[in-house]
């Protein structure tokens, strides 16, 4: 078990209302997992609590010893004083430089490396940002809508590539696309409104790796389960 959240209760510092109450969840096995739920339910907040970026909650987060957890989101930007390629090279540990080239190819960023971040499209920006996180040493990478604004085909290619390159790492993918999380995630943590009990339900996904055809009936069943749980 890489991570276990036990009885997490939290309210925003400025707010009176609770956002989580006795919430429990965990990530037992490596792979691509989803965090799904309606807008405003607290997905990003839970993700940042897991990443250690938010404190002041009640309950306990148990992590495997020295587990590196990174949180990335689609609101992040690369600094504008150098090209995307220069930035990626600079923040990549030497051992991961070959991987950088592989990711640039797989994420179709070849045409962007000489451009400044501000010159990229929204989809390219998100891919460039995700790339630099994937090049770091991590055990769990939380991807908070990291592939927003990326077209469906490229998104699929990116997820499949991540699964191929990092089979031993943990990913927590936050998305509003039921079909996407149902297709590619092994487990989906469905976060619900605080008034529902339990607040978080786990649903099994299809964990598709792109190499075999999808069982459409099973996928639809998983999607229905997610929608009903939410």
């Amino acid at each position: 078990m890489l991570l276990q959240c036990l009885n997490i209760t939290y309210r925003y510092p400025q707010g009176d209302a609770l956002i989580f109450h006795d919430l429990n969840c965990g990530l037992a096995d490596p792979g691509f997992h989803g965090l799904f739920g309606p807008s405003g339910v607290g997905k990003s907040t839970l993700a940042r609590i897991i990443a250690g970026e938010i404190s002041g909650f009640a309950g306990e987060i148990r992590r495997r010893d020295r587990a590196d957890i990174l949180y990335s989101s689609n609101t992040e930007r690369l600094p504008g004083w150098s090209s995307v390629g220069d930035h990626l090279t600079k923040v990549t540990p030497a051992a991961n430089l070959p991987l950088l080239q592989e990711l640039i190819r797989a994420f179709d960023l070849g045409s962007c490396v000489d451009s400044r971040f501000s010159q990229l499209s929204l989809g390219q920006k998100n891919r460039a940002n995700l790339t630099r996180y994937l090049l770091q040493d991590f055990d769990l990478l939380i991807m908070d809508e990291s592939l927003a604004n990326v077209d469906e085909a490229t998104r699929k290619q990116i997820i499949v590539t991540i699964k191929q390159i990092f089979p031993d790492r943990y990913f927590l993918y936050i998305s509003h696309s039921v079909a996407e999380v149902a297709t590619f995630c092994a487990r989906i943590l469905v976060l619900r409104d605080i008034h529902k009990s339990p607040q978080l339900i786990e649903v099994a996904g299809r964990d598709h790796h792109g190499d075999t055809s999808l069982d459409r009936t099973a996928l639809e069943r998983a999607m229905l389960e997610i929608v009903h749980a939410a």
Binding site: A51, E76, W81, V91, R116, Q119
Partner: protein, 254 residues
Amino acid sequence: MLHKRLSQFLIIYFLGLGLLLAVKYCFGLSDYVIPGFTDMQNTAQAVAAGYLRAVLDTLGVAVIGHLLAIALATVVAIVGRPDNLLGTMIKTAAYNLQAYPIVAVAPIIFILLGDGLPSRLLIAAIICYFPLLLSFIGILSEPVAGIEHFYIVTGRMRWQLEVKIRAFENIHKLITVVTGSATLAMVGTIVAEFIGADSGIGYSLRIALYQSDIAKVLVALFLIGVFNSLYLVGLELLGLAVRKRMGVEQRIQQ
């Protein structure tokens, strides 16, 4: 840029001059109170060379004072940037001190340092220092979460990088503040010279005041306006060059 600044100044200057002459002729004021246009021309020819040297002297002091203030404000803003005890103390002191009309301490400076260059320089610097400091502290204390997050969570954040990110993201504000404070540096120098120095255009203005010679004052105002405009344009061009070098222009076009 230069054309725009100079033409703006010239329009205002000659409108003011026209108004002054209109008052003179409407109320039949004597040449002693407001000299006629010919007297002004004669005075200009007589004092232009000396006043030009005085304005350049003043501008030189203002530029050095301005640079000192920028350097000091940068250092203090970097030190006062963190959200800790020292940072809070520096911010509080800066906010309180800037509320005081600092030019009022000029006599003390003249008493302690005499009427030479150090006094003029110090007064020029402190008059533009506090507005610079407040802006610099505000800019350098404000996190740019979207960019800084990656460096923080990957353990790469250093204070130099933090300052670089915040300065880069606010380069327009910084350039505007630096350009805006240039006029304050010029004002500070002139005020210092007017109060107690023995050189510079402020000193010449003091003599013109004692002689009740409006023509001399108008010549001085003309030269001050022209050279202040040139200094502002120089700073704006420098800011443009900095922005281009840092690639900020590409960002603006997006």
